[in-house]
Symmetry: C2
Subunit: 439 residues, 2 copies
């Protein structure tokens, strides 16, 4: 009976701002970072790994919060935790003093995500299977017991959730065989960061199409003339049948969003992503009405399941881009997948950053096998950055995620990467002390 | 030309959980706390004081975040800051790396509130007037330049906001004379904490009525039979003409809220406060429809102006209970007052905790003088706790806040209180080290 013997939380920051990887209209100089959690057990062969993703300053706040969030886990029996993943989530989540700082949002929720992602990783390793398989083999009742359905019963009761999952049970095995063969379809954002030149945009778009991608996503929203020119380049490379997505990273008010998006309509975008404040359910609904048939997508800053419930209720989005490290781990992600399925909205998870691709591949496969049972309108983000720091990096083949085989949630990072990029003690940062303005 | 020479941020925690002051159905054991900011200048007679309010664990996260938030202020000219209070707010708020952890919510936003509250306190002290007077003497254009109107232009443009304030200008002086005489009406929550016995509830309610209060608020939501009994006691003491408010502190899902509130309708509550998740705009709208004529109130966990915009758009609330230490200081509070006035919803600010009463008295007076111009349906919370730690505690007379006279935002605490209750170094906490389970 292994127990959790200690919790290690590490502030890892990569200097991505140096070459504007990840730059967009709102976030010009992010250093992609992770508050990285390791749950050590007294079995030296068994640990759990998890993280939340940030873009630099404030990652230390998530680290400090994760230390507090994880405190109740120390000394606990691993089997007991793994046999009640809903119970341990609710226990950590319901600390009323920490709850006051949210509830269910901001630093304390990012920290809950980091810790509970590590718990789910531990559970899958304990079971000796990748997380997608752990989830895909749980019964409807077990899944619903793990899901955070609080505040959702006006649209989805536990009974309705069980029924929804039970209806998909007969096809699970067949869909699993199919997806193991084909992989889960993805698109790339690597081509379109705002800081890239036209030449780099064209070259990367051409490379993307050549490697089998049918979608390319561009950052927009800083300057309309630039956007028109860049969208023109991407559409030219994609041809009329490829899918162009555009992403404004929250820079617009609602009226400005409508005007700007309609000015780019000639390039036939599949979706506009994050047109305005991520909190503005009614604003997204108004934009969606005004820019149809262009779809509206949001979710990477979707703070919790209550926000997503309302996005669905208000018919505000065409694509749900939940984030595996912003929602409170698999427990809350499950709830959003269930809501999305019940409202018939496809989930196309946000990825990129640090390790988000590694996580979401598991979620997408599970969604297809056990929740939505559909690939229609679904494509998961992929960004070609920072995978080299993970012990089990995701693999892309022909524009699709290959199903990961190793036990766990693919969340473990190399010790060497941690030692180099730990902030501020790691060898990379300490060698630059005094030289770099970043705190 | 004084400059900001240093920033001090202190973790102050009061052991209020010991006697269940502040207990409710969600928060059973809060230690009322503040992340307390002092902006020192090189003029020894001039400092700025501000804080955000928390209930214990995690207050250290707000402290650490406030240190980061305040960093850009160090070395800055006080006059330059005070002459562009909108500019400095936007500068601090727009740190894109910290923004990622919200945006505009959770720990980083609480920290922004703490820091910018201190800036506003500094500005009022610099001007030698209480904050309510500083605000009441600003022109409509100056107020709108200070207000955070981002993401609001679909319902309120800057021009509309100026017009709204200009329309109230002619009556400012007369209303000021009137409110200086009468004070601003308040109600008390001190009687109805959930942990109090029936006897204590009855005695405190009787004392409240005897001291001139026309409103009493009870915590509900833990047990329906208890709620029926306690509401009966309060209604009996109040008589048929007094106002009973009930407060569930977010414990219900939407369907449960409707059922429970209707079961208490016989006691004729004026409002139900926080019936469900504070993020659930559409949920509040559904509850409001189903429990009318009982009013719906929320806002103490209202994370930002975008949430309030939607609460107004969806006609989800009858009373707006904004929080002076959760919204991003006066800059964002101004925006919510402007929205509320344009939608015709009365603002009844949340108070209690640590020093919230000291802050909101200024806001309520300003609202009456310069924004809404009305007292109809308006009553500001008052809780009789922890005022002794402030150098200029609020004063209540005949159920009304007496207008504060001292320069500033009434946010300064006694050094002795800080030395006693600083966590964990203060004399109170260090003398209990090892004795108390609170971390």
């Amino acid at each position: 009976m292994p127990r959790i013997s200690s919790v290690e939380v590490i502030d890892v920051r990569f200097p991505t701002s140096l070459n504007q990887d990840g730059s967009d209209a709102m976030n010009k100089d992010g250093d992609h970072s992770a508050a990285y959690v390791v749950l050590h057990t007294d079995d030296p062969g068994l640990s759990g790994f998890g993280f939340t993703f940030t873009i630099g300053r404030g990652n230390d706040l998530c680290v400090a919060a994760a230390v507090q969030r994880a405190q109740p886990l120390i000394g606990r029996d691993v089997d007991a935790i793994c046999s009640d993943l809903g119970g341990i989530y609710r226990e950590l989540q319901s600390d009323s003093q920490l709850r006051w700082l949210g509830p269910d949002k901001g630093v304390i929720h990012l920290a809950l995500a980091a810790v509970m992602n590590a718990v789910w990783d531990l559970a899958a390793r304990r079971a000796g299977v990748p997380l997608w398989r752990l989830l895909s083999e749980m019964s409807p009742e077990e899944l619903v017991a793990a899901a955070d359905l609080r505040y959702l019963s006006d649209v989805l009761t536990a009974e309705q959730a069980v029924a929804l999952l039970a209806a998909q049970e007969p096809g699970r095995k067949e869909r699993l065989r199919e997806i193991e063969e084909s992989g889960y379809p993805c698109y790339t954002t690597s081509a379109g960061w705002l800081g890239y030149s036209d030449e780099k945009l064209r070259r990367l778009s051409e490379e993307a199409v050549a490697s089998g991608y049918k979608h390319v996503k561009l950052k927009v929203g800083a300057n309309l003339a630039d956007d028109v020119r860049r969208c023109g380049i991407a559409r030219e490379v994609l041809g009329p049948d490829g899918h162009l997505m555009i992403d404004a990273n929250q820079v617009w008010d609602v009226p400005q969003a409508i005007e700007w998006i309609n000015a780019l309509a000639e390039f036939d975008p599949l979706w506009i992503e994050e047109p305005t404040s991520p909190d503005d359910v009614l604003g997204h609904a108004a934009i969606r009405k005004a820019v149809a048939p262009i779809g509206v997508a949001t979710g990477e800053h979707g703070m919790n399941r209550v926000l997503f419930k309302q996005l669905f209720q208000a018919e505000a989005i065409d694509y749900c881009q939940l984030d595996a490290a912003r929602l409170g781990s698999v427990n809350e992600v499950l709830a959003v997948y269930l809501l999305a399925a019940s409202f018939g909205v496809p989930v196309c998870p946000h990825a990129g950053g640090v390790g988000l691709c590694e996580l979401v591949q598991h979620l997408s496969v599970f969604d297809y096998v056990a929740v939505s049972g559909s690939l229609e309108g679904r494509v998961t983000e992929y960004v070609d950055h920072l995978h080299e720091h993970f012990t089990e990096p995701c693999v892309i083949r022909d524009g699709a995620y290959v199903l990961p085989a190793a036990p766990g949630y693919s969340a473990e990072m190399h010790r060497q990467s941690l030692e180099t990029y730990q902030f501020p003690e790691g060898t990379y940062w300490s060698s630059r002390a005094g030289e770099d303005p970043r705190p």
